[in-house]
């Protein structure tokens, strides 16, 4: 393995996570916060860290059905995240709209607007599922580095 390859593998041990709430009911956000913030599902041991600024992020977690109102803001924030980045859609809302699917105000599925790499279904998904989604995202990220 060349030095660069080795460094890239090291780099994947430090995924920084950013959350975008695209009109979620907050159920998914609570689960995402739970993943990192309580001792039981400590993801810091994987090197993960929640960051406040999109510019520091590597992995984006998007939750919610993408309401019409937040479309522009969400796209702008998404563009602020430097490459290489990986997108994880959390919850059933981003996939189909979930319980909001018949509303005139939602634009789900969100992969019409964002390049979604990993889907984590559930309403809301369990923390273990979200962690697994992050782990898959790290593998995809490794290929993009």
């Amino acid at each position: 393995m060349s030095v660069i390859e080795r460094l890239k593998t090291m780099a994947t041990k430090s995924p920084w996570i950013y959350r975008i709430n695209a009109g979620s009911c907050n159920g998914c956000d609570v689960e995402m916060a739970t993943c990192a913030l309580i001792p039981r599902y400590d993801v810091e041991r994987l090197g993960c860290q929640y960051c406040g600024s999109p510019r520091h992020a590597d992995i984006v977690l998007i939750s919610g059905p993408l309401t019409r109102r937040v479309l522009d803001a969400t796209l702008r924030v998404f563009d602020e995240i430097p490459d290489p980045k990986v997108t994880v859609a959390v919850g059933v809302c981003p996939i189909s709209g979930g319980i909001f699917r018949e509303s005139y105000a939602v634009l789900a599925p969100i992969d019409q607007y964002f390049p979604v790499d990993v889907n984590v279904p559930g309403c809301p998904p369990r923390p273990q599922a979200i962690i697994e989604g992050i782990a898959q995202a790290v593998q995809i990220w490794r290929e993009r580095l």
């Binding site: 041990k13 430090s14 001792p39 041991r45 520091h56 602020e80 580095l145």
Partner: protein
């Protein structure tokens, strides 16, 4: 010529440069891991800060269109260079004393100001409103903690100077030498208020909870660092790792240089460093919430200033 090479080695290899960087990253890693353990988590590996740096090197640096490029990208460089020089200025008792040509305590105090100024530059040049808030908070906090620092340093300098027959001495080497022969200032009741004041100063200078007001993630989204990404952000991480070594090294040199020589002295120094980091940073960080900027301002101008002034007054009289 050879003295110039010695200075170059001191700045780039030991005790500044690579050594200080490795030590600083190690301290940060230990801090994160011990904090996790105290909260009942497993925590990241010790080398996590190093892995973060490698990661940042692979990311793209984005410059906001409204930012001033030169200042925006130059600021972190200035910060790192100032801290490299500062790290070479800190003596290690029995192992290393800085060359007089490099500078003395006064130079070190000025260099310690540079990271705060650099963060202000970064915040204001990024043209982000959060950066601007971070800028004003950084400035207020700096004015608050700089005053006690000056008095602490004056107390130590006058104490050593008077004992040697002149008024003050600003040579860190002399201060360390004096304590090696006459006993540590840590054990001297006159200096206890100053030691306590320094205990308040260094968490503020290192920007950790409860004094991380300029970079508060949950309110101003890391303030001045908000717009930085990739290698430029990595430089800021390097700067703060070096700063941890410089500030804690200064604490050790001012109050508790071990009267040992050679390898034991060096190991003792590293142990002191880790203990001060864990006691003063990690435990404080996880046991407190963040202060408001006005609270921190009043706090610093009340307690640490008073304590440092008390030491200075007793020393002078």
């Amino acid at each position: 010529m050879s003295s110039q090479i010695a200075i170059l080695i001191a700045v780039l290899l030991f005790p500044g440069g690579l050594f200080a960087l490795a030590l600083g990253l190690g301290l940060k890693g230990a801090d994160r891991r011990i904090a996790a353990r105290l909260q009942g988590r497993v925590g990241p590996p010790l080398v996590q800060p190093f892995l973060d740096l490698v990661k940042l090197a692979f990311k793209r640096t984005m410059v906001p269109t409204t930012a001033h490029d030169l200042v925006f990208l130059g600021a972190p460089l200035i910060g790192v260079v100032s801290m490299l020089v500062a790290a070479a200025l800190v003596p290690i008792s029995g192992v290393y004393s800085p060359a007089p040509a490099l500078g003395n305590l006064l130079v070190l105090i000025y260099l310690l100001l540079v990271p705060a100024v650099v963060l202000m530059l970064a915040g204001s040049s990024s043209s982000s409103p959060y950066g601007a808030i971070g800028f004003s908070r950084e400035m207020a906090l700096m004015m608050a903690y700089e005053a006690p620092l000056v008095l602490i340093v004056a107390a130590v300098a006058v104490r050593t100077g008077m004992a040697q027959g002149h008024w003050v001495t600003f040579s860190l080497t002399e201060i360390v030498e004096y304590q090696r022969t006459h006993g540590l200032f840590l054990l001297d009741p006159v200096m206890w208020p100053a030691v306590a004041a320094f205990g308040f100063f260094y968490p503020a200078n290192l920007g950790i909870v409860p004094f991380d007001i300029p970079e508060a993630e949950t309110e101003v989204l890391e303030g001045p660092l908000l717009e930085y990404s990739g290698p430029a952000l990595g430089l800021f991480k390097i700067m703060s790792a070096l700063k941890a070594v410089v500030v804690i090294g200064l604490d050790i040199a001012l109050f508790m240089p071990l009267p040992l020589d050679g390898v034991p002295a060096f190991l003792g120094w590293v142990v002191e460093m880790v203990v001060l980091m864990v006691a003063g940073v990690t435990v404080l960080r996880i046991s407190m919430g963040r202060m408001r900027i006005d609270q921190a301002f009043v706090f610093f101008l009340r307690w640490p200033l008073l304590l440092a002034a008390a030491s200075l007054a007793v020393v002078v009289v």
